[in-house]
């Protein structure tokens, strides 16, 4: 990963021509930010600058496909973290069914492709000057920008989770990383006979089946190591949001008597010292507490004027993933206002990324974009260390409604969780990681 020096050069120059790059410091002339989209040869694609904010499933996949499909593009990826840690399969880490190292990757291949990877925090995108502003004060000029910042937690309604000490005592672990390991430690330290109490926010949130997969994983761990313990699932939703039949089969089958599921649980707060989830009508004490907060688009989206729906999500044009609010800025992944029955998933962020990459190349080359795009979703959930089940759907563009809707007759659930699909799930993971970083 490159680090910026004061003269705006990078300490490790990627293969691509960096002389054209307009790297502007605060206060410097913005003249260099003017658009250039002269045409290179058809194979090389258009010459222009694309800056991608966020190197997760959406952003890294978009940067990589832009560069592979249009090598003449000048692509920069800005990411705050040094490594990529996959949320998918991170619930298995909680149960000891996978190691975090299996899910942790580097950005080196993207640099080898000629993408400039900058480690930094983006403050905002300034569409009037077509620049991306970093916390360091540096600015990067772009012809088109992509934002895939994932989610941030909305803690306004959960005062008991706001202090850093409270967060350490009750790790959320809804972004894979240090909190995943801390939650694992708390589970390991819990005596047999204890209770893991989790709260699920109202949909939409990142990964609809994820919380129920987590309940299964922790039940799997308890069954093996702490068989007198319980998993209590407090759901703000009126019912299991995704893959209900698969999860109910596990809770009424191998985990019978271990998992207690309660719908319609409106959260009031959480009390760390008392280890209690406070519901509007009830207090639920436990030994390990895991409140998954409500979510909205990552903060940089709001600071860039991209949030258009419920003060949470970014409305986009489904032909291009371009923001409906800010021209020239495309939004991917969890941060988008999801179309009907479109989950906030890594698969979907990956699909958004390729749709956006193709559209951006067409737009920069002044060609019409694909008028009839299709996206698919595939999400696997593990019910134990080996068996998984899926939910799938195919989404097609509806010109009349200007949205994506599920193609009638497509998609569905696994009949039951099974080991074959457990292997498919690991295969999916290795390939989607390769799509982002390979």
């Amino acid at each position: 990963m490159s680090t910026l020096t004061r003269d705006g050069a990078t300490t490790r120059r990627p293969a691509a021509d960096t002389s054209r790059r307009a790297f502007i410091h605060g206060g410097a002339s913005l003249a260099a930010a003017s658009v250039f989209s002269t045409h290179a040869g058809a194979a090389e694609g258009p010459r222009a600058r694309v800056v991608v904010v966020g190197g997760g499933f959406g952003g890294a996949t978009a940067a990589r496909h832009l560069k592979r499909w249009a090598p003449a593009l000048d692509v920069t990826l800005i990411e705050r973290d040094a490594t990529f840690i996959s949320c998918p399969l991170s619930n298995l880490v909680l149960a000891g069914n996978a190691q975090i190292a299996d899910l942790t990757f580097g950005y080196q291949s993207l640099e080898r492709l000629g993408i400039r990877v900058i480690r930094g925090e983006v403050m905002a995108i300034d569409a009037s000057t077509r620049t991306v502003r970093l916390a360091s004060g540096d600015r990067l000029a772009y012809d088109r920008a992509i934002v895939s910042p994932g989610v941030e937690f909305d803690l306004a309604g959960i005062p008991g989770l706001q202090a850093p000490a409270a967060r350490a005592a009750m790790p959320v672990a809804w972004k894979a990383g240090p909190e995943t390991l801390r939650l694992r430690q708390h589970l390991e330290a819990m005596p047999d006979g204890g209770a893991f109490v989790m709260h699920i926010p109202q949909a939409p949130y990142r990964c609809p089946p994820g919380p129920y997969e987590r309940a299964c994983q922790i039940a799997d761990y308890f069954k093996r190591e702490k068989p007198r313990s319980k998993v209590i699932v407090l759901d703000a939703n009126p019912d299991v949001v995704s893959k209900k039949a698969l999860f109910m089969a596990a809770w009424n089958g191998p985990y019978k008597g271990m998992v207690e599921y309660r719908p319609n649980c409106e959260l009031a707060d959480v009390d760390g010292p008392a280890k209690t989830v406070k519901l509007v009508f009830d207090d639920v004490p436990g030994d390990v507490i895991n409140v998954i907060p409500p979510q909205r688009a990552g903060a940089v989206a709001d600071r860039s004027g991209l949030v258009t729906a419920n003060r949470r999500w970014c409305g986009i044009d489904w032909l291009t993933m371009e923001s409906v609010a800010v021209k020239g800025v495309h939004v991917l992944g969890d941060a988008t206002l999801s179309a009907s029955i479109m989950p906030k998933s890594a698969t979907m962020a990956n699909q958004h990324a390729k749709l956006a990459a193709a559209a951006i190349i067409d737009l920069l080359a002044e060609r019409p974009v694909e008028p009839d795009p299709t996206l698919i979703n595939t999400c696997y959930s593990f019910v134990d260390g080996v068996r998984a089940g899926h939910v799938a759907s195919v989404h097609a563009y509806e010109a009349a409604e200007r949205t994506m809707s599920v193609v009638k007759g497509s998609g569905g659930l696994s009949r039951e969780a099974n080991a074959t699909e457990g292997a498919h799930a690991w295969g999916w993971a290795r390939n989607i990681w390769g799509e982002a970083l390979g």
């Binding site: 496909h65 592979r68 499909w69 040094a82 490594t83 990529f84 996978a98 190691q99 190292a101 299996d102 942790t104 990757f105 580097g106 080196q108 291949s109 698969t347 990956n350 699909q351 390729k354 749709l355 193709a358 067409d362 694909e370 009839d372 795009p373 299709t374 996206l375 698919i376 595939t378 899926h390 799938a392 759907s393 195919v394 097609a396 193609v407 007759g409 497509s410 998609g411 569905g412 696994s414 099974n418 074959t420 699909e421 292997a423 498919h424 690991w426 295969g427 999916w428 290795r430 390939n431 989607i432 990681w433 390769g434 799509e435 982002a436 970083l437 390979g438």
Partner: protein, 130 residues
Amino acid sequence: MTVISHRIPRHSRRVGLLLVAICFVAGQAAADDVSRARGLAANCTTCHGSDGRSVGEVPPSLAGRDRAELLQTLLDYRAGQRASMIMEQHARGYSEAQLALIAGWFSRLPAGVALAAPRADGSSTGARQP
């Protein structure tokens, strides 16, 4: 000195122009098909690997497979005549014409080494089964 176009009868000039126009339209249609095929095939690569080359054994690689065999497999999934965990559910989301573009796209890609994400230290994770 003769100007070449004067030697070409008017009607054949028109035919020539028409041919140029047809070639242009056909070329444009082919280009549209290529970009449409790439877009559709990009739906598949999330699970099957970039350029249809899978890092592991499952899901299988698609690059370099026989076009007719790939298309028949997809059509069979779509018609519910081939059992699968997930492929019937996906294939039913596409028209026959779309499936033909997908099969054509992958059949033209060379089979080869899959691209795996590197470990944090940059070392290869290729084909590792955790």
